[in-house]
């Protein structure tokens, strides 16, 4: 639907089927239907992201970075593994939001 010709064709078909004089489609709120597992499988970076969320203790650099974060809640003082475990669902939601523009 990002191709203008496809949009024009769809608008024409819909306006004919619905008996409208003209119709304009707005894709601003249209979100793709995304499967989270498939999204991660198709994206090498996200595989790494999920590996880090599930086992942050295996990456010292990440542990150090989180310990130095200037969070407003004071999260940097918490145990990084527990923190990521606690926020796993939120982080998955952010992955969907930023990488797929939608929810699974």
């Amino acid at each position: 639907l990002k191709i203008p010709a496809n949009m024009a064709y769809l608008e024409e078909e819909l306006s004919r089927d619905l008996g409208l004089k003209s119709l304009e489609l707005n894709l601003d709120e249209v979100l793709p239907e995304v499967d989270f597992e498939e999204l991660v499988m198709d994206n090498g970076i996200l595989k790494e992201v999920m590996a880090l969320i599930e086992a942050p203790q295996e990456d010292g650099k990440l542990m150090k970075t989180i310990g130095q974060l200037k969070t407003l809640e004071g999260l940097e003082t918490k145990d990084s593994k527990a923190l990521l475990g606690e926020r796993e669902a939120v982080l998955k939601g952010l992955i969907m939001e930023y990488f797929a523009g939608g929810q699974s």
Binding site: I45, K70, E73
Partner: protein
């Protein structure tokens, strides 16, 4: 994984079985014209490896026209050389089987076990290289494709770099510790919380002031209440004093007023309207006198206008009923005169005709025509004429003679009785004829006629030759004489009638001097009638006036009698003086009006009956104007005091309202709570974004460290071979941009001016390296090159196809084309190529 054979039983346009055999070690060139089914075959390969998508048969784009299912199978070898066969069927549901030797497993719609390390998306987006993808890179910079190629296998649309940039922006939008403005939502919220806290503190301070003012208001309320109570008591007392003062004053006034009129009681019997009645009667009498004088003058004026009829007018009125009869007589006279005139004219006319006839016939035609007998003359004339006619007919005598001779001959010849009879008749006829002849010869009638006419004095010639015309003249003379006689008789009769009518007509106008006819009589009569009518109308008017005068006289009399009564009555109250009486009465009524008013006020407002009782135990000395003034003064002072306190109360109330305007403490607390909750949510979002950013950055680093060098190294090697050593390396530097190094050691940016062909080679090198990287350690899935080399020049095509041929030894390669021209190049540079035509 290497495909040996694909069988399309029912799939897309292939609704009859189509078997395609492929080589596993050599490049496969699949040629088909447009619409031959190349794209269908690519889709079939993908679905055979990864399963149907969609799994709803009716929505599947390759459901054969008029068909009810999709049915296809594929034979392939895995990397160990084991043979497999997959069959996939999509009708109401999906059914797939995988055969390995004698084992048959149902795998549903799952991907083949040899492809479970990859997703269908990656296979479609990375393993299938199309002309469209190569065209795409010609219009974009390589930096735009870089992450897509290196980090996302060319699969995702969003790069980590873009996500990190967005994350940073979103975090800054939420909070920035160094920002002095309030553009960040958390900063803004924190400012708002501080502002609310300050507002709360100020409000608490104000509330203390309000409490003090409220206590003042409470005291003022009590004071005002006490004043109002006192005011009510004073008012009640004042009302009581006022109530007792008035009746006493009123009673005193009434007594004084009555005393001002001596003999007040004697006036009570007087009618209140006596004076006005007197004046009315006086005025009415004057009006009556005036009206009577006017009416009488009018009467005299009208009487003088009455008209007297003349003698002729009276006579005309007497004849009024006979006018129609006189008019009839007048008409009769006119008709009779006309008729007499007509008779005279006809007599003259007849006499003239008679004289003419006489002149023609008689010798001496005088005034008198001799009398004659017309019948006698006619008889003689017709007889003489008949005799003359008989004498003239000799042939009749001859015939008669022959007839007689014949009869005689027959009588002689017959000699019998009949003959004798006939003879006798003949003899009789002879005798009769003889007598007749004698008479005719004499004609005595003509002679008698002549003698007669001569005796009458008829002209000699006419008498001797008297003709039919002469006879007609005699007849006309006799007719004229008869007519004249009749006319003379009529004239005589009419003359008599006319004389009688004239006499009657003349008699009708006897006594008139000026009137001679009915027309004059009509004019006179009309004048007389008009006069009579006018006199009648005047008389009616006079009668009405006289009646009116009579009524006026009666009313004047009544008024005078009443006037005299009233005058006597008034004079009595003036000690014999009318004017004094009127003055006294006027004064009495004036006083009585005030007395009645005071009495009514007493009666209505003061309940005089209960007056003594209602005084109660009150000291009568207090019922005075002075005490009343003291009370009024007290009330005024109290009112002033109350007003001052009420004003102060309003002032305090206004100050309180002003102080507590805006939000209450509860509202401010509510807003604070809401702002804290929002801050908590935003803070958590901010921290989550920070956390996500940290993890993503670290993952990006790890991925790059882990994979980028291998992919870049292999892509660089492929690129070197494709460009026949012109370019030797591909690098990504610290600025995260891609660079390439040529054989001279010069490094140029991939975004700089590269030809479209070189860009295509670089892109293909990356894709081939990625494919190699993606299935390392697993089954190598086939590469599909779909018209990928359509626009390549020969110089670039040769080294690239040699590379492809080398890759095809370990990974199956399927090259699709619809261009016959390209086949020559493929034959030249891919000598081991297996050709398949669909």
């Amino acid at each position: 994984m290497k495909i040996k054979e694909i069988t399309l039983n029912e799939y897309g346009k292939f609704n009859t079985q189509k078997v395609i055999k492929l080589s596993e070690n050599r490049p496969n060139l699949i040629y088909g014209k447009n619409e031959a089914g190349k794209t269908t075959l690519v889709s079939a390969i993908t679905e055979l490896i990864f399963g149907f998508n969609p799994i709803n048969r009716d929505k599947h784009p390759y459901l054969p026209w008029g068909g009810e299912r999709l049915n296809l199978s594929m034979g392939y070898l895995d990397r160990r050389g084991e043979r497999f066969k997959v069959r996939r069927l999509l009708s109401n549901n999906v059914k797939s089987t995988l055969e390995e030797g004698l084992d048959i497993n149902n795998i549903g719609n799952a991907a083949l076990p040899q492809a479970d390390h990859l997703s269908k998306n990656i296979f479609n987006n990375v393993y299938r290289i199309s002309a469209e993808q190569l065209q795409e890179i010609e219009t974009r910079s390589f930096s735009e494709l870089q992450d897509k190629l290196v980090l996302n296998y060319g699969n995702a649309n969003v790069s980590p770099k873009e996500v990190l940039a967005r994350l940073e922006e979103d975090i800054k939008t939420l909070y920035n510790p160094r920002s002095r403005g309030n553009k960040q939502r958390i900063n803004e919220l924190m400012d708002r919380i501080n502002s609310l806290k300050k507002e709360k503190r100020d409000k608490e301070s104000l509330y203390q002031e309000v409490r003090v003012m409220a206590e003042d208001i409470e005291r003022l309320d009590k004071d005002i209440e006490a004043i109002e109570k006192t005011v009510i008591e004073k008012l009640q007392l004042k009302n009581k004093v006022s109530r007792y003062i008035n009746p006493l004053e009123l009673m005193e006034k009434i007594e004084n007023l009555k005393a001002s009129i001596p003999g007040y009681g004697t006036y009570e019997a007087l009618d209140q309207g006596i004076l006005s009645r007197f004046e009315t009667l006086e005025r009415q009498l004057g009006d009556f006198e005036k009206s009577l004088m006017e009416e009488k003058a009018y009467l005299r004026s009208k009487e003088s206008k009455m008209t007297v009829l003349t003698g002729e007018e009276s006579r005309a009125l007497e004849l009024e009923d006979r006018v129609a009869g006189i008019e009839e007589v007048e008409e009769t006279l006119r008709i009779q005169t006309d008729y007499l005139k007509q008779i005279n004219e006809r007599v003259v006319e007849k006499l003239t005709s008679l004289a003419e006839y006489a002149k023609e016939i008689f010798v001496n035609p005088g005034l008198e025509i001799p009398a004659f007998n017309l019948q006698e003359i006619q008889t003689l004339f017709y007889r003489a004429r008949e005799m003359e006619e008989v004498k003239g007919r000799a042939w009749v005598s001859g015939i008669k003679l022959l007839a007689i001779v014949g009869l005689l001959g027959y009588g002689v010849w017959a000699q019998n009785l009949y003959g004798l009879g006939v003879l006798g008749i003949a003899l009789i006829l002879v005798v009769l004829d003889y007598v007749d002849q004698r008479r005719k010869r004499k004609n005595t009638a003509a002679t008698a006629l002549k003698e007669k006419l001569a005796g009458l004095g008829v002209q000699k010639g006419i008498a001797e030759n008297f003709s039919m015309m002469n006879l007609k003249s005699f007849e006309s003379i006799q007719d004229l004489q008869k007519s004249l006689e009749t006319l003379r008789e009529n004239k005589q009769f009419l003359q008599q009638k006319l004389t009688a009518s004239q006499e009657e007509y003349r008699a009708s106008f006897e006594g008139f001097e000026t009137v001679q006819d009915t027309r004059g009589l009509g004019v006179l009569l009309s004048e007389a009638r008009t006069k009579l009518k006018l006199n009648e109308q005047l008389q009616e008017d006079l009668d009405r006036r006289r009646e009116s005068i009579e009524k006026l006289g009666r009313r004047r009399l009544q008024a005078r009698e009443e006037f005299e009564d009233v005058s006597r009555n008034i004079t009595r109250y003036g000690g014999g003086s009318l004017e004094k009486g009127k003055e006294n009465i006027r004064q009495f009524f004036s006083v009585r009006e005030r007395v009645v008013h005071y009495e009514r006020e007493l009666r209505e407002n003061h309940q005089l009956d209960d007056f003594q009782e209602s005084l109660g135990g009150m000291d009568k000395e207090l019922i005075s104007e002075e005490y009343l003034r003291i009370l009024e003064n007290d009330l005024e002072v109290l009112g002033q005091e109350k007003l001052e306190k009420a004003n102060r109360r309003i002032q305090l109330k206004t100050e309180i309202d002003h102080v507590i305007s805006g939000d209450t403490l509860d509202v401010i607390d509510g807003k604070l709570l809401e702002a804290h909750e929002q801050l908590e949510v935003l803070t958590e979002s901010h921290d989550n974004l920070l956390l996500f950013e940290a993890v993503l950055k670290r993952a990006d680093e790890i991925f790059r460290e882990k994979n980028q060098p291998d992919v870049l190294k292999l892509a660089g090697e492929y690129f070197r071979r494709m460009t026949q050593g012109r370019y030797t390396h591909i690098m990504i530097e610290d600025d995260e941009k891609m660079y390439i190094k040529d054989r001279t050691g010069e490094v140029i940016g991939a975004d700089q001016e590269l030809s479209a062909g070189t860009k295509n080679q670089l892109y293909l090198a990356f894709r081939l390296a990625l494919i190699q990287f993606l299935d390392q350690g697993g089954e190598k899935l086939p590469i599909i090159l779909d018209e990928a080399f359509s626009n390549w020049d020969e110089g670039r095509l040769e080294p690239t196809l040699k590379l492809i041929q080398e890759i095809a030894r370990e990974r199956q390669v399927l090259i699709f084309t619809c261009k016959e021209n390209n086949i020559r190049y493929f034959e030249n540079y891919l000598p081991e190529m297996e050709r398949t035509i669909i």
